[in-house]
C-alpha cells in the first residue's frame, strides 16, 4: 500500500520558485539567442541584405536618346525623327485579349494574319507592360480608334520616336536605313548601351555613323513594388532615385546637295544606273544615286516578309547599291588615263597623227580589233583620239605601253582598290595585271597574260572593272591634275558638348606624281574636245561653262540574273552600259561626275545628257549663268 502523499505547501512553493527560476534562465537564454540572431542579420550581414532590398525595390528603366538628324550640305533634313502613333495594349486591363484582337481586325487596325504572333507577344509580356500591337498608325487609323476607344479598355494610343525620311527614297543608297536590331547587330554592339533602343543603322551613313547618331541612352530608376509595378512613393517618403538624362546623338551634315541629288535622280529616273558627283577640291560627295531605290521607312517600321521578298526578287534589284557595289568595264572613259600613261612614259608624241582605218591588228596576228560601230576616224592625234574616242589609236598606245606600265600607272587613280568612302559596302573592282591574272585563274593556261588583252585594256574592255564611285574618283583626280581626295559623305557633325557643328577636315591621299602639268593639260584639252566637237558635242552645246568629259560604252558580257521572265527584257538587258564622266568648269573644276546607265547603249546618248543636267543644276544660277566660285 503506497504511502499517502499529503500536500506540503512550503515544499511546493520552493519547487515552484525553483522551476520558475529554471524557466527564467531558459527565457533569458532564448532572448540572448534572439538578440544574437538579430545582430547577425542587422549588423554582420546588413550590407548583404541591404543590397537584396535595394535590388528588390529599384528597377532601372532606359530612356532612349534621340537619334541624330542627318542633314544635307544646306541643312535640309534627310533623316529625322518623328513621333509616330502606335496602339498599345496592357494585358491585365483587357478582359478578353482574343476577342479584342478580333474586333481590331474588324476595324482594320491590325491584320488577321498578325493575330497569332501578337497573342504570343502578349502572352510573353508582363501583364502590366504596355505591348505595342500596331506601329505607325495613320491619322485616319488614330481617328478611327479614338471614336471607339471606350469599347477597348486597356488599349491606348501612345507616341514614340521613329526614324523619318521626309524625302522617301531620295539618296537612300547613301543614307542607308534603320531597322530592328538583329542577332548579328547584337554581337557587335554594347547591349547595355542599347537598352531601350529598338532601331539601329543598317546601311550607308545610318550604319557607318551609328555610334555618333545613336547618342547615349539615359536611365531612370523607378521604384517597384513586389508585383514589379512601378510606384510613385513608398510610405510617406519619396526616395532619392537616380536619373541620367539621355544625350541625343550627333546631327550629321552630309556633303550631299539634295538639289543636285534630286536633279540626278530625276534625270536617271526610269532607268537602272548610278550617278556619283564629287567636289574635286575636297572629296565631298555632292550626289550619290543608285536607281532604282527603295523606301527606307519600310525597314524602320518592320518590313514584312512579303515586302522584303518583293524588293529582293525585283529584277531591277532596288536593294543593290550600284554606285558602290556595281562593277562594270569602264569602256572608253579609261582613255584619258591611258593617254596620260603614254605621255608620262614618253611613248607617244601628242602631235603625231595616226591613221584609223576602223580596225587594229597586232603585229604578226590576224586577230582584228574593231572600232566601235566600225567607224573610220582617219588621221588622229592624241587630242582628236580622246575627243572622238578613237579605239584604234588607243589599241596601239596600249600595245606600246604594255600591261605592266598601264597597271602601274593607273593604280594611283584608285582602280582595283577601295576609294575609302566613309560608308561600307564598297567593291574594289579589278585592275588587271600579269600578277592579278596569275592569281585570279586556276588553270596555268589561263594564268598567262596575252598581248590581245592589253589591247582591249586600252579601251577599257576586258578584265578591267570599276564602280561608278571609282570612276568619279578617277575623273576627280584628272580634274585636279593629280590631287587625290578621299570621297566622303559626312562633312560635319554637331559637337555633343558645345552643340556646335564641327567640320570634318577632308582627307587627302597625296597626289599622282610624275605627270607633267603640260600632259595633264593636253589630256584635259582632249576631254574638253569631247564636249565641244567630239562624241558628246551635242551634249556640250550651249553650255555656259567649259567642261571636260569622256563618254564610255561597256559591253555586257554576262547576262543579268532573273531575265528568264521576259524575252524583250533580255534584249534590253543585253545592250551596252552607257558611261559618262565629266568635270566643270574645265580649268577650275568645282564638280566632277560619273554617270552610269545600265544597258543605255552608247555613252554619248544616254549617260552624257544626265551629266549635263547635273552640271547645269550645280553650276548655274537662276539667271542661267555660271555662278561665281565660292
Amino acid at each position: 500500500m503506497p504511502a499517502v502523499r499529503i500536500k506540503d505547501h512550503w515544499r511546493e512553493q520552493r519547487l515552484f520558485d525553483q522551476r520558475a527560476l529554471i524557466c527564467a534562465v531558459l527565457m533569458g537564454l532564448a532572448t540572448v539567442g534572439l538578440i544574437v540572431r538579430l545582430f547577425v542579420l542587422q549588423v554582420a550581414r546588413h550590407d548583404y541584405y541591404s543590397d537584396l532590398s535595394q535590388g528588390n525595390r529599384v528597377r532601372t528603366e532606359p530612356i532612349p536618346a534621340a537619334r541624330g538628324l542627318i542633314l544635307d550640305r544646306h541643312g535640309e533634313v534627310i533623316a529625322g525623327n518623328q513621333p509616330a502613333y502606335q496602339l498599345e495594349l496592357v494585358p491585365e486591363e483587357v478582359p478578353d485579349v482574343a476577342a479584342t484582337l478580333k474586333e481590331l481586325v474588324g476595324l482594320g487596325l491590325i491584320r488577321a494574319e498578325d493575330v497569332d504572333e501578337l497573342e504570343r507577344t502578349i502572352d510573353s509580356s508582363r501583364s502590366f507592360d504596355s505591348v505595342p500591337i500596331r506601329l505607325r498608325m495613320s491619322d485616319e487609323d488614330v481617328a478611327r480608334f479614338a471614336v471607339r476607344r471606350f469599347e477597348f479598355p486597356g488599349l491606348d494610343i501612345k507616341t514614340r520616336q521613329t526614324r523619318w525620311y521626309p524625302n522617301g527614297d531620295l539618296a537612300v543608297h547613301a543614307l542607308g536605313y534603320v531597322g530592328a536590331i538583329s542577332e548579328a547587330d547584337l554581337k557587335r554592339i554594347d547591349r547595355a548601351a542599347y537598352a531601350g533602343t529598338s532601331l539601329i543603322g543598317k546601311l550607308g551613313v545610318e550604319s557607318a555613323y551609328e555610334q555618333k547618331l545613336h547618342g547615349a541612352n539615359g536611365f531612370r530608376e523607378v521604384l517597384v513594388n513586389a508585383q514589379g509595378r512601378s510606384v510613385e512613393r513608398q510610405g510617406a517618403f519619396v526616395p532619392n532615385l537616380k536619373t541620367r538624362p539621355p544625350t541625343a546623338g550627333d546631327d550629321l551634315m552630309l556633303a550631299i546637295d539634295l538639289k543636285i541629288q534630286r536633279v540626278a535622280e530625276d534625270a536617271l529616273a526610269g532607268h537602272r544606273g548610278a550617278v556619283v558627283a564629287l567636289d574635286p577640291n575636297n572629296g565631298d560627295v555632292l550626289a550619290l544615286v543608285s536607281l532604282p531605290g527603295f523606301d527606307p521607312t519600310l525597314f524602320g517600321r518592320g518590313i514584312t516578309a512579303g515586302e522584303y521578298g518583293a524588293l529582293n526578287n525585283d529584277i531591277d534589284r532596288p536593294l543593290f547599291n550600284r554606285a558602290l557595289r556595281g562593277t562594270y568595264p569602264p569602256g572608253s572613259t579609261i582613255k584619258p588615263g591611258i593617254a596620260l600613261a603614254g605621255l608620262t612614259y614618253h611613248v607617244v608624241d601628242p602631235q603625231a597623227r595616226k591613221y584609223c582605218a576602223g580596225a587594229f591588228h597586232l603585229p604578226g596576228s590576224s586577230r582584228m580589233f574593231r572600232e566601235y560601230h566600225n567607224e573610220k576616224h582617219g588621221y588622229v592625234d592624241l587630242d582628236d583620239a580622246i575627243a572622238r574616242s578613237c579605239d584604234v589609236y588607243f589599241y596601239g598606245l596600249a600595245d606600246v605601253l604594255g600591261v605592266d606600265r598601264i597597271a602601274a600607272f593607273l593604280a594611283p587613280f584608285g582602280f582595283g582598290q577601295l576609294t575609302g568612302i566613309d560608308i561600307s559596302g564598297e567593291k574594289p573592282g579589278i585592275l588587271p595585271s600579269r600578277e592579278w591574272k596569275a592569281k585570279a585563274f586556276a588553270k596555268p593556261a589561263d594564268q598567262m597574260w596575252f598581248p590581245g588583252e592589253t589591247v582591249n585594256f586600252g579601251i577599257g574592255q576586258g578584265y578591267l572593272t570599276v564602280t561608278p564611285l571609282q570612276l568619279a574618283h578617277y575623273a576627280s583626280i584628272i580634274a585636279t591634275r593629280g590631287h587625290i581626295w578621299r570621297p566622303r559623305l559626312v562633312s560635319a557633325y554637331r559637337d555633343p558638348h558645345s552643340g556646335e557643328m564641327v567640320k570634318v577636315p577632308p582627307i587627302t591621299e597625296g597626289e599622282v606624281t610624275g605627270v607633267s602639268a603640260e600632259d595633264w593639260q593636253r589630256v584635259v584639252h582632249g576631254m574638253i574636245g569631247v564636249t565641244q566637237r567630239g562624241t558628246a558635242a551635242a551634249i556640250g552645246r550651249g553650255a555656259a561653262y567649259t567642261f571636260a568629259g569622256k563618254t564610255g560604252t561597256a559591253q555586257v558580257f554576262t547576262v543579268a540574273q532573273n531575265e528568264r521572265y521576259n524575252a524583250s527584257a533580255i534584249n534590253e538587258r543585253l545592250r551596252d552600259h552607257s558611261w559618262f564622266i565629266a568635270f566643270a568648269p574645265a580649268d577650275e573644276p568645282r564638280i566632277v561626275i560619273a554617270v552610269l546607265q545600265e544597258n543605255g547603249g552608247a555613252g554619248a546618248s544616254a549617260a552624257a545628257p544626265i551629266a549635263r543636267k547635273v552640271l547645269d543644276a550645280y553650276l548655274l544660277g537662276a539667271d542661267g549663268k555660271l555662278k561665281p566660285a565660292t
Partner: protein
C-alpha cells in the same frame, strides 16, 4: 487626509500615490499595465506604417485593445476561488465549442476556426489558450506536487483533447500554443527532470508520427524552414523577404514608413504575423531591442507576480500565463528571423487582427486577480 499629509512631498508624488491607490482598488498591477500599454502603443505606431498608413486598421486595433482592457479589468475583479471553481465548466464548454466549430464552423482562411456569433466572430481555440492551463492548474490544485505518473496521464489527456480538436481545424500554431500553456503548468508544478527528458523523447517520436498526419502546406512550412532557398518564390518567400527586411534595417532602421520591403509589399503578412520584420526594417536593431526589453519587462513582472501568489492553482496558472506570453514572443520572433519554422503565431499586442489581443489581456486580468487576492486565499 492624514494619509495625504504623510505621503505629501511633491505634487507628482501625491499624484502617483493617488494613482497607485486607484490601481490597488481596481486590483490592477501598475508596472504590468504600464509595460503592456507601452507595447500596445508601440504596436499601434508600427501598425500604422505596416498597414500602408491605414487609419481604419489602427482604429480597429484600438477597438480590440479597448475590448481586451475591459476584459482585463473585469477579470481582475473576479475572486480566484470562483475562477477555480468554474474552471471545469469553462474547459468543458470550450471543448464543446471546438466540436461545434469542427462541425459547423465558419470557414475562414481555408480553415474552420471561427464561430459566427452574429455580433462578432469568436474563435473557441482562443478561449482554450486560457482554459487549458486553468484546467491543468485546477487538476493539480488539490494534489500533492510534484505530480505522479497517474496525474501526468490525466493531464496529458486534458491537454491533448482540445489540442487535437484545434489541429484538425487545422491551426497548428494555436494548437502548439495551447499545448505549451498546459505543459508549462506541469513543468511549473515540479515535473521531474528525467520525466521531462522522457517526454521530449516521446515528443520526438510524436513529431515523426505527426508528420504523416500533416497537411501538405504544413509539411512544406517545416521543409522550407529547414532550407528557405529551395522555394524562394513559394513558401520560402516569406522567410527570405522577412530576413531581407530585418537585415536591411541595420542598427538604426530605415525610418518610420520608409521600409521599402514593407511599404512595397515585398514582405508578406506585413501587418500581421510578420510585423516584427517591419519593426526591424524601419526601426532597426535598436527598435527591436526596445521591443524585446518591454516584453522581457512584462514577462519578468508577470513571473514575479506568479511567485507571490500563495496557492497552487494561482501559482501554476499565473506562472503559465506569464511564460506563455514569452513563448508567443519567442515563436513569432524566431519564425520571422528564420530561427523557427513559419507557424501562424502573432506577435502579442502588436500584430493586427484576431481575437488574440483580447485573450492575452484577459489572461493578464486573471493574473492580476490571482495576485491581488493573494492574502485572501490559501490555507
Amino acid at each position: 487626509m492624514i494619509y495625504e499629509e504623510i505621503t505629501s512631498g511633491s505634487r507628482t508624488r501625491r499624484t502617483l500615490g493617488g494613482a497607485a491607490r486607484v490601481l490597488f482598488a481596481l486590483r490592477i498591477d501598475g508596472p504590468l499595465v504600464v509595460g503592456l500599454a507601452l507595447i500596445a502603443a508601440y504596436g499601434l505606431v508600427v501598425l500604422y506604417s505596416a498597414s500602408g498608413q491605414s487609419m481604419p486598421t489602427v482604429l480597429r486595433t484600438v477597438g480590440r485593445l479597448a475590448l481586451g482592457t475591459v476584459a482585463m479589468l473585469l477579470l481582475a475583479q473576479v475572486n480566484p476561488n470562483f475562477l477555480r471553481r468554474s474552471t471545469p465548466w469553462l474547459y468543458l464548454g470550450g471543448c464543446f465549442l471546438l466540436v461545434v466549430v469542427a462541425v459547423f464552423g465558419h470557414i475562414g482562411m481555408g480553415a474552420q476556426r471561427w464561430l459566427d456569433l452574429k455580433v462578432f466572430r469568436f474563435q473557441p481555440s482562443e478561449l482554450m489558450k486560457l482554459a487549458v492551463p486553468m484546467m491543468c492548474a485546477w487538476y493539480l490544485h488539490e494534489r500533492p506536487l510534484p505530480p505522479g505518473l497517474g496525474s501526468l496521464l490525466v493531464l496529458s489527456g486534458l491537454i491533448l483533447l482540445p489540442v487535437a480538436l484545434v489541429v484538425v481545424q487545422p491551426d497548428l500554431g494555436t494548437a502548439a500554443l495551447i499545448a505549451v500553456a498546459g505543459a508549462l503548468v506541469i513543468v511549473l508544478a515540479g515535473l521531474r527532470l528525467r520525466v521531462m527528458a522522457a517526454l521530449f523523447a516521446l515528443a520526438a517520436v510524436g513529431a515523426v508520427f505527426g508528420w504523416s498526419f500533416m497537411h501538405d502546406y504544413q509539411r512544406k512550412r517545416v521543409l522550407t524552414f529547414l532550407n528557405p532557398q529551395t522555394d524562394p518564390l513559394g513558401a520560402g518567400y516569406h522567410i527570405i523577404q522577412s530576413q531581407i527586411a530585418i537585415g536591411s534595417g541595420g542598427v538604426f532602421g530605415k525610418g518610420w514608413m520608409n521600409g521599402s520591403q514593407a511599404q512595397l509589399e515585398f514582405l508578406p503578412e506585413r501587418s500581421t504575423d510578420f510585423i516584427f520584420a517591419v519593426i526591424g526594417e524601419e526601426f532597426g536593431l535598436l527598435g527591436l531591442l526596445v521591443l524585446l526589453a518591454l516584453y522581457v519587462f512584462v514577462v519578468s513582472r508577470a513571473v514575479y507576480l506568479a511567485t507571490q501568489t500563495q496557492d497552487t492553482f494561482a501559482r501554476l496558472l499565473a506562472g503559465s500565463l506569464a511564460l506563455t506570453f514569452f513563448v508567443y514572443v519567442f515563436i513569432n520572433a524566431g519564425m520571422v528571423t528564420g530561427l523557427l519554422p513559419v507557424v501562424g503565431v502573432p506577435l502579442p499586442l502588436v500584430s493586427y487582427g484576431g481575437s488574440s489581443v483580447v485573450t492575452l489581456l484577459a489572461g493578464f486580468g486573471i493574473l492580476m486577480a490571482l495576485y491581488s487576492r493573494r492574502k485572501l486565499i490559501g490555507s
